[in-house]
Symmetry: C3
Subunit: 486 residues, 3 copies
């Protein structure tokens, strides 16, 4: 697919439309409610950022590596962006995905000349803020302004002020959690922790997904890597369990307060050890069936919950996404290239055994993330509204948008209030968009609270307290970040 | 679970924050729309209350028993309240559930000191109104004000003005329907009906749920109780059917206009009598399987519909809730203690046979209640928008909140208009919250109507007529309460 | 069912309430946002109508046949209307359905005297606009005004100005697509295309549904008709495929740019030709099972997608509706009489193979229509946000209402922006309601855009551009109507 299809023509060029995000953006239009929202928002706008889940690489902060060119930083790796362009008929190769020969300036031009197709999307919202607030861009992207913006960005990215650590400080990040394989040595995290000049916290998160799919060809190789990291033979199921426990302890010793699991469904059901052992060996032998593999995975998810109830690492569960829907795109460009899709939530049914066994435990904590909006009022908030261990994860991925976050608050608050929600999670690999994302959340929450005040469901001073909690005590409590609190 | 977990700290004490529900609470913030809503609301604010479904015990009204202490009245039996506190790590035993040794004042203190966790929830909204309007409390609950409020409540509860019958009059209740087992003698209902000094109507509702689960150990005992009440041998399926019919007639003779069924799903499918008989005997023998038990239940639900088409008792169906999700809590504290959960709605699929057979009958009437918000636009309103017998039940349980009721109106009106909705149902065992709940509904409906007027979809005088219908002719018609109309 | 049941009494007659749709109807009440919405709306209010999917009969335009009486035109054939009246206990026979003896004036009286039950529904909204703007009616329907309105309508319908072609011009319709069986000779479309005095475009749409259900008794007869039309023996599966291809070419030669499929689910899965052939013969032999029939249908849906990828006809898929839910009504009154019901959307699961094979094709284009609101954010918009071939169809049927369209925009825009949505589809057999329906959509979209401007997510000039696109370039592009663009 090398050319665009017959998409509608871009609107006539309106060159150099100014880029100036409005101070009241996302706040409610009604003047009275807007005043309330403005007051609530302004009280938390400058609060430090707790980012308890995301996909930034710790090494770039540890090494303080200068970022590459604008396309390499902002377009190619961001599947939020590339999928929208792909939907317009642009091949992922043209955007540099698995294609080092693509000209970054040309990628940037494609992006800018398609600026209008992002209208109304949260991707555009974030970009506007990021370009303006982080990079000082003052013209709207377009075919005409693409080169000018590219040059300005390139110049800045080459400067010291725009290196990862300098931005970390400027972004006022208190905690940034990364996502890491259990076999990872966490050397970048160690380096940062040992560096007295670095005052933020970059914490690893234990994500054992790749050990949970024994019908994947590469599984045996993963087991070997983990076995080496843990110095435990993972050729048996018992060995894998021991290795995972050992690595959890290692992660905890290196600052981790949480784990993550990204699963096709939320089912977590224990197997008898002998049966798990049998499946493990079938996986190694390459004879495991799809059903057996699913049973193996669901048992491991249960075991991870049991481990969390033991060691107190907060368990995050991102469930019910159909991964790698498009075979061609997966084969050609790999995973995480924009063709994952939401699936229906399965928490209430899937987690019954886990919650019966650990849901009332004081050590266990489980934050549930979904891309299925209906799950907030039907599953997650009712679960979090009874089980002390369950927290409502912020809207995820397809629904981490102003409209959806606002609907989430309306749906979740009735059952779970504010204190059983997780606080905002940016879940991003786009480092420079972190402030824009958190700022968006603060604006939307301020608007939601302002509406409660304007309809006399909440006193104004309490709304301020809650807003402060949503960016402070609530994520700190949910993710057990007390020692990193500012 | 005896101590709270590491929940976030309560905000700094702001002692004696005043409690003064705003006259415009829940009305839209836009000044123009608010004026419209205020006008519509004020025209129905004082209308008598028709409460066609709930869980108040008729005996407390018949006997006019003084209420107990504040905790016993307002906290321990209300699973809306206890589940939120349980979610904060408070054991149900600490709240007095199945624990007569718990100190009521201490329970009340726990509640008040956790007031902030209810922020934004409908439980808090109801409590504010109930405490202020019913009991004259003027300070917000908190750790500091707990004792003061407890003492004030205790004093009032001891006074004659706060006995059930006096409150019945003060609440301006025209009809209060209770929920009763078919074996109940309805003596309290009889006593009230025979009492010329009592001018309200307290009507029984026939709820046969416990006869519908033959795989429950206690089922045989239930059959015996029913058999005695009906003086019919319920050892056979045919006998059970006869007994149910006899008791429906008894209920009808004692004022019942409706039945209720609370089911795990909405499937209602007839069995051949011989097969039903076989399952009945298997149930008695203790050999029935789970699948057979479900088939037995679904047959009985169908038979109940057939009986309603015969005797004209309005059939209420509350479906698709997962009951007693947490085994430990069920074993320790029993049912209705906060760990039921919403499930996906199954009306369109489950009721096809019932609606084909009775949906166009003039005597049959079926009100459908769900906790699955998506069902309003996808299932219930489309069914009620075709079948004369089907009515859209008001949002239930997890979704009987200002936000969800507003969304319900938006979702249901397109297909079903206003006249095919049921009117508000409070469904509560919290007697003193009845006025607050109905008032909430009137405010939300007034706001919805005001918005239709403000967007020129409805004339203002028609909005007033509809608002009056929603609290009068609509519940009266839906539940066939004509003879009790004020 | 010959009499109305005990519905609530109609409100006291308020005779001759004026009918005067407000110029600002559906626009947001907030004065600032309303000004923005008014400005956006007014810029597109008069734009020509592109109606790329509907059920108007081309013959009435080709022949310019005068419409019949008001009931025959506006009530009896419109199941949006008859279902609401049926839900009030009016028999479909009383409304003239399959009952030529029903007195049209009496039907009209029934409709007018039930005007209040339509309050808040989109049916009433459309009727108000249609009666006022098309027919100049200035009093609200009621029992008292029924005859007066009937007479006024009758007089107008007899006049030349109200014949189909005159209305076509007056409605400013640029393109009207009809829905046609592959066996249709398209003579009316031909006649119109050949008529220099007719300047609009009336395009056929290829809808092969009836060939896809081999377990329907009449299927063999349908095959024969198609075989004759195509002059190809459809006794074999291979013959059916050839005939469908031949008829697609014929439709394309007669102006078709699109096909349509109305399916019980979205599953499209190819069979081996030999297996398809076997099922075809089993269908002819009358021995095909329900499961085999479903497999046959799902294969044909896949084959239709393959043909679209070949010939470039835009594929519309209207999926997941339960047809003919009520057996009695189907047997007595036939299909399309108001008892179809929404079902849960199945796009992501059902279309995986189609999208893997054709989703990145430049010729293939697929517009997805649903009655399940949750599908916009969970399935359709995410699919359209990755696959260049997929477009988000406008809300359909039960959800083509102001509230639902507004929720659709909020749900779809995040993933798909505006350019991957289809533009408004009226999907109506009610010819005279076409302007009211499109006008409704323009108002709702203007309101949505105004809100984005008011919350500073979109510049005002860009909102104007998008509004223009939504009624022009977007439907033109989606449905490949470039040659008919005005």
């Amino acid at each position: 697919m090398s050319t665009t299809t017959d998409q509608q023509t871009a609107p006539a060029a309106t060159s150099a439309r100014p880029l100036a995000p409005h101070p009241d953006r996302l706040l409610p239009p009604d003047p009275g409610v807007r005043d309330l929202a403005r007051s609530i928002y302004s009280s938390v706008a400058g609060a430090p950022i707790y980012s308890p889940h995301g996909h930034v690489d710790a090494a770039i902060i540890a090494e303080n590596t200068p970022f590459g060119n604008p396309a390499e930083l902002l377009i190619t790796p961001d599947h939020y962006v590339t999928r929208v362009l792909h939907a317009q008929g642009i091949g992922l190769d043209q955007l540099g995905v698995k294609n080092p020969d693509a000209d970054p300036r040309e990628i940037w031009r494609i992006f800018c000349s398609h600026w209008h197709v992002f209208a109304g999307t949260v991707v555009r919202y974030w970009f506007e803020n990021e370009l303006h607030d982080v990079f000082g861009i003052t013209v709207t992207p377009s075919a005409e302004t693409a080169d000018q913006i590219y040059d300005q960005l390139s110049e800045q990215l080459a400067s010291k002020d725009f290196r990862p650590r300098e931005l970390f400080d400027r972004f006022n990040i208190a905690v940034l959690a990364t996502t890491d394989d259990p076999a990872a040595d966490l050397s970048s995290h160690q380096k940062l922790a040992a560096d007295p000049s670095f005052t933020g916290a970059v914490l690893p998160t234990f994500r054992a997904d790749r050990y949970m799919f024994p019908d994947v060809l590469a599984w045996k190789g993963y087991l070997d890597e983990l076995g080496q990291a843990a110095d435990i033979d993972t050729g048996s199921y018992a060995g894998l369990i021991d290795a995972l426990k050992a690595r959890r302890a290692y992660f905890k010793a290196h600052g981790a307060t949480a784990t993550d699991s990204g699963m096709p469904d939320a089912y977590a059901e224990p197997l008898e050890p002998a049966e798990a052992e049998r499946l493990h060996r079938a996986g190694i032998a390459g004879t495991i069936t799809a059903e057996e593999s699913a049973a193996y995975r669901r048992n491991l998810l249960y075991q991870l919950a049991a481990m969390s109830a033991e060691d107190g690492l907060v368990m995050q569960l991102h469930a019910d996404v159909v991964r790698n829907y498009d075979d061609y795109s997966f084969a050609t460009f790999g995973p995480d290239t924009g063709h994952d899709l939401p699936g229906p939530a399965t928490f209430t049914k899937g987690l019954r055994r886990v919650l019966n066994d650990f849901g009332r435990s004081e050590t266990f904590r489980l934050a549930l993330f979904t891309t299925d909006e209906t799950a907030f009022s039907e599953q997650i908030a009712p679960l979090a509204g009874f089980y002390p261990s369950v927290y409502v994860g912020a809207p995820w991925w397809f629904i981490d948008t102003p409209g959806a976050i606002s609907r989430f608050r309306a749906a979740a608050t009735d059952s779970a209030g504010f204190t059983k929600t997780s606080g905002f999670i940016d879940d991003t690999r786009a480092y420079c968009s972190i402030p824009a994302r958190h700022d968006m959340s603060r604006r939307v929450d301020a608007s939601f609270l302002a509406n409660l005040v304007a309809t006399h469901q909440l006193a104004e001073d309490e709304a301020h307290e809650i807003a402060a909690g949503l960016v402070g005590s609530i994520p700190i409590n949910t993710f057990r970040l007390q020692q990193y609190a500012r």
